[in-house]
Symmetry: none
Subunit: 92 residues, 5 copies
């Protein structure tokens, strides 16, 4: 296999595996936080607005780890500097 093919194949595979593995943790973590938030609202209904606000700010931070993976995946697919280098090197 020539360099172009290797780089492209590795980029594709890595882009997929990155977001796949990277989404497991955030999803489980958000599910756990959400579950606890609902339990907390049931236990202390008067604090529902505070609990909900804290939940969503927290979920946004957990979500950010999934977004990092998503960004890396998109970069590997659409703005991969290694790929651009090999494209220029082979003059195509």
């Amino acid at each position: 296999m020539d360099p172009d093919t290797v780089i492209a194949a590795v980029s594709i595979f890595t882009a997929g595996i990155t977001i796949a593995i990277g989404s497991v943790g955030p999803a489980l973590g958000e599910g756990r936080a959400l579950a606890q938030a609902l339990s907390a609202i049931a236990q202390q209904p008067d604090e529902a607005s505070t609990i909900t606000r804290t939940l969503f700010v927290g979920l946004a931070m957990v979500e950010s780890t999934a977004i990092y993976c998503f960004v890396i995946s998109m970069i590997l697919i659409f703005a991969n500097p290694f790929w651009n280098h090999f494209l220029q090197a082979t003059g195509s």
Copy 2:
């Protein structure tokens, strides 16, 4: 194997594995949150509307990690820039 074949094979395999692995975490996380929500409604029926609203907004955030994987899978199948490059390179 020529480059076209390698890239196509890797793209197909990665597209499938990405959504397969990427759906495990969100599904388990949503299942956990949903389970807790039902328990919370049973414990505090008066807060059912608040719990339900919080649940669905939260589920939407967990679901987003599965959607990231789905988007990457679809990109790898239908809008793969590496594949497009090799198509142009071989002039077919």
Copy 3:
């Protein structure tokens, strides 16, 4: 092996593995939510209608991750753009 064979073999294998792995998470998550729902109905029978409604809307969201995997599997089998390309390339 010629390109056609490789692409077909990879597509078949990936289609199966995708839905196989992708069905484990949703099934376990739905089972957990369903178990909790039944427990909640037993605990608070008066809220059975609210619990049941929340359960089914939530199950539909969990189910969606399995449906993503199913869609990718079907695309890989019946609407695979890589396969269509190789069919046209070999003129058959």
Copy 4:
């Protein structure tokens, strides 16, 4: 090995593995839900009809993920478009 043999072997193996792995999750999830349902009936016998109805509708949704795997397996054995293509290509 010629293309026909490879495709047939991969199809057979994938069809089996798909339903094998795909049946583990639904079976465990349904077993858990069923166990909780029986416990719930023992706890609240008056709600047996509501619990049973919710259980069976929910089991049907969990079962659907196993059915997805079964459908893909049957398609790979009896309606495999890749196999049909190779049959026509070799004129047999």
Copy 5:
């Protein structure tokens, strides 16, 4: 190895592995449900008939996932379209 041998070997191996892996989940799930049923009858003897009826209908649904695996195994052994094709192709 000639094609016939490969197909036969793969079919035999897959038929065994399919029902082997596919029986783990249902067996564990049914065992759990059954254990809970016995516990529930001991807790609420008056509801024994309702519990038993729900148990058997539920077990039938869990069993269905094992039956899917069994059907695929039997098809691979006795009604394997790939095997029939190779038998006709070699004229034996």
